[in-house]
């Protein structure tokens, strides 16, 4: 199961990559594998205010729907509209082309509530 070294992670299997106070958010390889073929992504609205660990998007697979929680608080500044037409990208490239949204971070201290790659790997092992 791929875990990217310099990303941060949540227990709900979202990843976040922070650069210049903007968080790019997606779901992990583990999440996409557990969900199976993703058929639809309900993206958040651009400009929506999101709270850390609150639901902000939904992924649908053939026979399941899963809420995605924002790893960090802030304002949605961009969403990956490619996922609307090609949701399968989330399965193929969860850490790169399958990113879900970019969030302008309102409180950078919240990053300390997230797991490092090392911690997430251990979390997966203990859960698995």
């Amino acid at each position: 199961m791929e875990v990217v070294d310099y990303y941060l992670y949540t227990k709900e299997h979202e990843w976040v990559s922070i650069e210049n106070n903007v968080a790019t958010v997606g779901v992990t390889d583990y999440a996409q594998e557990a969900l199976g073929d993703i058929t639809f992504v309900e993206l958040p609205a651009v400009d929506a205010e999101v709270e850390q660990f609150e639901e902000f998007a939904t992924l649908e697979s053939v026979k399941a729907a899963s809420d995605i929680f924002s790893p960090i608080s802030g304002k949605v500044i961009e969403v990956n509209t490619l996922l609307e037409s090609e949701p399968g990208i989330l399965n193929k490239s969860p850490y790169e082309r399958g990113w879900i949204a970019k969030i302008e971070i309102s409180d950078s201290d919240e990053a300390s509530n997230l797991m490092t790659a090392e911690e997430y790997r251990k979390f997966l092992e203990s859960a698995g």
């Binding site: 639809f40 053939v62 026979k63 399941a64």
Partner: protein, 446 residues
């Protein structure tokens, strides 16, 4: 007949022993005495003969001999014998949606054809596999608009069936939505009033065509105005009228619902009926209920599936598009058989026949002294009649003459006690219409 509870006293004793409970009443200990029923009125069981006789006695109280001129959303259309015969086949005659749906390709194909027919009829892009009835379908449309827009205000035109409006308000009474109802003007949607309250908080404008008074209206202008504010337009329709009228799709509606009873289902004293719903394709994931889709199986053959199930409660639980919607597969099947039997041309002819007979009836009724047929807008097979007396009393007197004469509007509209709506379907013969007019004249002259 079998007793109410089939278990023998020995069975019950054994079951109680296994679970370690002394008496049956102990199972209900948690219910406070105030909420517990004092007694059950369960007389001893009766024989099949007695029960059949009793049911027949009850059925004889039904006033099935009256010649109906009542519409109000439910219409006395002819149901061809082939519809009843086909729908009664054992392969179809199951009460509910199958739980391993893909095993039942025939049922799924029938529902898929039903959806296709509803789309063709309404001019919309996507339909679901049916809802409970026309009123609850309209409620589901209101909820769908609220989900899509994220807004909480609903404008309901006064021409929408008062029964439906009540259903929508009852179902949403604890959800804290804002409802605004605009009264009709000269029998039509009151544009001025609607535009006055249409704003950025409005999720939907709910309209009906023909409206409850029978008036036909082209809502394209209202729908365009609604779209300008980001609101959706919901249109409730009478399917038979669509054989002639501009479709809600052509008017630009976003969600269309209706009562499908007129599509081959008998009146049945109130049900089971058939709700239908269609929408623009982009809203399909916000639609409640079952949706059947076409696909191919492993061998590449055409096959049907229940699709987009992630909207539904067995997947999404409390966040489902609806937790109270139901589908009425057998009624939907009946409707699709009916529509196929008529075909496109037959459907148009049927609509024309309804219009022609209603126009004939209108001309007869108009000639009665003191009676006035409202003509401020065109009508289909139903129109509003002003009487020189209380309409409820007139309807009462007409019953004695063998007619269900119309729907008295005073029941739902204050100040309209002297009005009734009269519906005329293809089933009404020339003689019935002439007799109706003669009897109405007699009743009013006295």
């Amino acid at each position: 007949m079998i007793p109410y509870i089939a278990n023998t006293p020995e069975d019950i004793k054994e079951m109680l022993r296994v679970i370690g409970v002394g008496r049956i009443d102990d199972l209900f200990r948690d219910i406070q005495p105030a909420y517990a029923p004092k007694a059950f009125n369960l007389p001893p069981g009766r024989s099949e003969l007695e029960v059949t006789a009793w049911i027949h006695r009850l059925a004889s109280k039904n006033a099935s001999h009256l010649i109906p001129f009542i519409g109000g959303g439910y219409y006395d259309h002819y149901v061809p014998a082939a519809v009843t015969a086909l729908v009664s086949r054992g392969e179809f005659y199951t009460a509910y949606t199958p739980y391993q749906p893909e095993c039942s390709q025939g049922t799924l194909q029938a529902l898929y054809e039903f959806q296709s027919a509803i789309c063709a009829l309404t001019g919309m892009e996507a339909a679901n596999a049916s809802l409970y009835d026309g009123g609850t379908a309209l409620y589901e449309a209101a909820m769908m608009a609220i989900r899509i827009t994220g807004r909480r205000k609903i404008i309901m035109d006064g021409g929408v069936s008062p029964i439906y409006r009540k259903i929508v308000k009852t179902y949403t009474s604890n959800l804290h939505f804002e409802f605004a109802e605009t009264p009709v003007v000269h029998g039509q949607s009151n544009r001025q009033e609607i535009y006055k309250i249409l704003d950025k908080d409005t999720a939907a404008v709910i309209l009906q065509n023909p409206n409850f008074f029978g008036a036909i209206d082209d809502h394209a202008d209202i729908i365009a105005k609604a779209h300008q504010t980001g609101a959706l337009a919901v249109e409730s329709v009478y399917p038979i009228s669509l054989g002639l009228l501009k479709t809600p799709g052509e008017m630009g509606a976003d969600i269309v619902t209706g009562e499908g009873q007129s599509l081959g289902l008998p009146l049945n004293f109130g049900g089971p009926y058939l709700g239908f719903m269609a929408a623009r394709r982009e809203f399909i994931r916000k639609m409640p209920g079952r949706i059947v889709g076409e696909t191919v199986d492993q061998k590449g053959r055409r096959a049907f599936v229940n699709t987009l199930q992630a909207r539904e409660q067995h997947i999404r639980r409390e966040k489902a598009a609806s937790n109270i919607c139901t589908n009425v597969s057998l009624c939907a099947l009946q409707a699709v058989i009916y529509m196929c039997l008529l075909g496109k041309e037959g459907f148009k002819e049927l609509a024309q026949l309804n219009l022609d007979k209603a126009e004939f009836a209108r001309r007869q009724i108009e000639q009665i002294e003191g009676v006035e047929v409202k003509r401020s807008s065109p009508t289909f097979n139903e129109f509003t009649v002003y009487l020189p007396q209380d309409a409820s009393e007139v309807v009462e007197k007409m019953i004695a003459k063998g007619f269900a004469a119309g729907f008295p509007l005073g029941r739902y509209y204050k100040g309209m006690e002297r009005y009734m709506i009269v519906a005329v379907t293809e089933k009404r013969t020339r003689q019935e219409i002439l007799d109706y007019a003669r009897c109405l004249r007699e009743v009013l002259c006295r």
